[in-house]
């Protein structure tokens, strides 16, 4: 033990430090196995997915299954590999892998796993398993999938040289459950018995069940104390020292790295720490903050397209400050300072009075200066939700209409994974009076109203921090003007002067799909080309690039 400590002191400049040891090797007692280690200011746990630099053009991705050090003080890790599609392209057959799909190596033979030096580890990798295997907790959401660096749903058997999506029980003598997603809090409650399989983790279920019980009773998630001791070296993460709030259960900080497997990805540090059970007010901080190199920034950056924002690190003080600002207590559920937007109680009343058609109302509102547009809303909000939102925020009853998503007002059509949720939407709001409109705009300019939205409505907060967006308001004026001619429909002027027979008129106006035997088809195809081009440039504009690690 003391030898190891000496070694650590020597290597402090490399930033390497073992975590808890889990015992000596069974066969060779000189080898010491560990559960985690800190290397280059990042903490790696067993069963994390990491990138390796082995001299190949692309980094290799593997899962750490054993961390150990022998008597020669050489630190090694045993890794089970994930194959990239390019590596097994000869054996893929008809299977068309997605752009960020990888394959778990399995079976007997070369290439499934090997032992590497710790120094070849480059960084953590966020891998999600999307397999429908019953042992795989479907504990990920679409946003997690988007945020993940890679996903896998099949494994590649090196013996049979084929891919398959039914997973064996063991992969290189490691239970396959470890390769699947980590379970979330809620699911843990039901599946605690699964964990008792593993002798190494007998400590965990008890602790976890304690945590879960507490969660249920308090209705507040428990501080993850992992943030306590180790974090000092993790400067880049946003984990904060546990704040003692009255509602919280303060876990004793010890050597046991309490890490209940709540995160649905293997690398907890990816999510700015918020993927673990953390405080809610930390969550809304995490939403706003962008850790410099964290790989989760894609989903936070998503609303903000190709930008990188660098923020300052947070300290405890900020947490306290925000606490003090509770404000806007309307007797609605206040989750710390996030105000829950619930249904406005007497919203049915608006249906009592007969209303003029929407267009007229819009025009009148614009004339009297009551029309405001709210921007940067989540496009999946409905008009009613926006009205409730405004009521909660400004204590004003308004009429709202979400502007529908069309190709030009919000060209992020479709829900294809890289582009789906970065959209922002506008809503038109009609206030009751000009002063109300003015004051709302003024308030939104002076202060910031942040929106957070829990898409799944689960207790588990790791969902909450998806989108955090400040609302922007602007006085709006409808575009007026007669409908100008439509670009793209051609007429031959001369024909207009001829008397067109009924048939001719019908022929021109019948909608039809043109056949490739006339000039109309060629021109139509040119338009098609332009349309496709415009799709591409809109996509490129709204594309969100992942943050470089």
């Amino acid at each position: 033990m003391s030898q190891i400590r000496e070694k650590n002191r020597e290597q402090k400049n490399l930033g390497f430090k073992w975590g808890t040891s889990i015992g000596a090797g069974a066969k060779i007692s000189d080898i010491m196995f560990y559960e985690s280690f800190i290397f280059k200011s990042e903490e790696y746990f067993v069963y994390d997915c990491v990138y390796f630099d082995l001299g190949q053009p692309e980094a290799s991705i593997g899962k750490l299954v054993k961390l150990f050090e022998g008597p020669d003080h050489v630190k090694k890790v045993k890794v089970v590999w994930f194959m990239r599609p390019s590596e097994i392209r000869n054996y893929l057959g008809d299977y068309e892998p997605r752009w960020n799909e990888i394959f778990l190596a399995s079976g007997q033979g070369r290439g499934v796993s090997n032992i590497n030096l710790v120094e070849s580890i480059v960084g953590k990798c966020n891998v999600v398993c999307t397999s429908n295997d019953h042992r795989n907790p479907q504990a990920y959401s679409e946003a997690d999938l988007r945020r993940a660096d890679y996903f896998f749903c099949c494994h590649f058997d090196v013996g049979e040289l084929a891919i398959s999506d039914t997973f064996p029980d063991m992969v290189d003598r490691v239970k396959v459950e470890y390769f699947f997603n980590k379970k979330t809090e809620q699911k843990l409650l039901g599946r605690i018995n699964l964990k008792s399989n593993v002798k190494r983790q007998t400590q965990r279920p008890n602790l976890s069940s304690k945590i879960k019980v507490v969660t249920k009773s308090n209705g507040v998630t428990v501080k993850d104390d992992n943030s306590g001791s180790r974090v000092s070296s993790l400067v880049k993460e946003s984990k904060v020292e546990p704040v003692s709030m009255t509602k919280q259960v303060h876990l004793p900080s010890e050597n046991i790295p309490v890490r209940p497997k709540t995160s649905n990805s293997n690398s907890s540090t990816q999510h700015s720490g918020s993927s673990q059970c953390e405080d809610r007010d930390e969550i809304d901080k995490a939403e706003v903050k962008f850790p410099k190199d964290s790989l989760t920034s894609p989903d936070e950056v998503q609303p903000y397209k190709k930008r990188k924002l660098f923020l300052d690190e947070r300290t405890n003080d900020k947490v306290h400050n925000l606490d003090g600002q509770l404000g806007h207590d309307r007797g609605i559920n206040i989750d710390n300072q996030l105000v829950q937007v619930s249904r406005v109680p007497d919203d049915d009343r608006r249906n009592w009075f007969e209303q003029q058609p929407w267009e007229q109302r819009l025009e009148r509102a614009q004339e009297s200066g009551r029309l405001v547009s709210l921007e940067n809303l989540d496009p999946s909000y409905t008009s009613e939700e926006v009205e409730d939102l405004v009521w909660h925020a400004f204590n004003e009853k308004v009429e709202a209409k979400m502007i529908e998503q069309t190709t030009f007002s919000c060209p992020c059509y479709g829900t294809s994974p890289p582009y789906g949720f970065n959209a922002q939407s506008k809503a038109l709001i009609i206030f009751k009076s000009k002063e109300a409109a003015n004051s709302a705009i003024f308030q939104l300019i002076k202060r910031c109203l942040m929106l957070a939205d829990g898409r799944r409505g689960l207790l588990v907060l790791l969902m909450v921090f998806f989108t955090c967006r400040p609302l922007i308001a602007r006085r709006e004026s409808l575009r007026k003007g007669a409908k100008v001619g439509f670009v793209g429909h051609l007429t031959i002027d001369k024909l207009q002067f001829q008397r067109q027979t009924e048939d001719m008129k019908k022929a021109k106006s019948t909608s039809h799909a043109s056949q490739p035997n006339n000039i109309e088809f060629d021109m139509g195809m040119e338009w098609r080309l332009l349309q496709l081009k415009s799709d591409m440039w809109w996509k490129a504009l709204h594309e969100v690039l992942p943050m470089p690690s």
């Binding site: 925000l322 999946s380 502007i403 069309t406 190709t407 479709g414 910031c448 909608s511 799909a513």
Partner: protein, 206 residues
Amino acid sequence: MESGKQNEYAAFEEKVRRTVYLDNLSPNVTESVVRTALDQYGTVKSVEFIPNYLEPRNMPQCALVEMEKEKQAKVVISTLSEFPFMMSGMPRPVRARAAVAEMFGDRPRKPGRQIRICWLDTADPDFEVASKLKQLVKRHATETAVMLKHQLEKEEKLAKQQGETLKANYKKYEMIDSLMADGAARRLARCYNLRVSDDSGPSTFH
């Protein structure tokens, strides 16, 4: 109560799947035109145009067409992507795409959703961040507007180009037609001892 909302939402989602989103529609296109046009692919249940409040007035229209079955919607989309479909004028084809929930103005709430808001004041440490975000959003909005303008310009250019090509072609056609019509061709043919027959019969040039 909850289940009622869930059912409503499920029904709405199903409707979304059955709906086709059309754009690049001319302003002359009316509901009946769309209906008759798409009737050949299946039963059209409803046609709704999406009103355009904030964009420049000469944007092409968009519509949501609800078909009876999801399969019909899919057929419409695939046919319209394969062949350029013309409605009320040529040659700008109509574009069809699968509809998305956000396109419906009057959609029901998604059950189980929670929205949370939080005010930040200037004193708050995150205020700077938030204001930076706001600026970013505004910037994006202007970028989008510029992109839109650019797109419209491109479309105009293409239309002009095609218009000119069409005119040139038509001139050629007119010329040939008039030549045949006023007998100039026949006279020339007699000069050169060539036989030129009328349009009705098969032409035989030896």
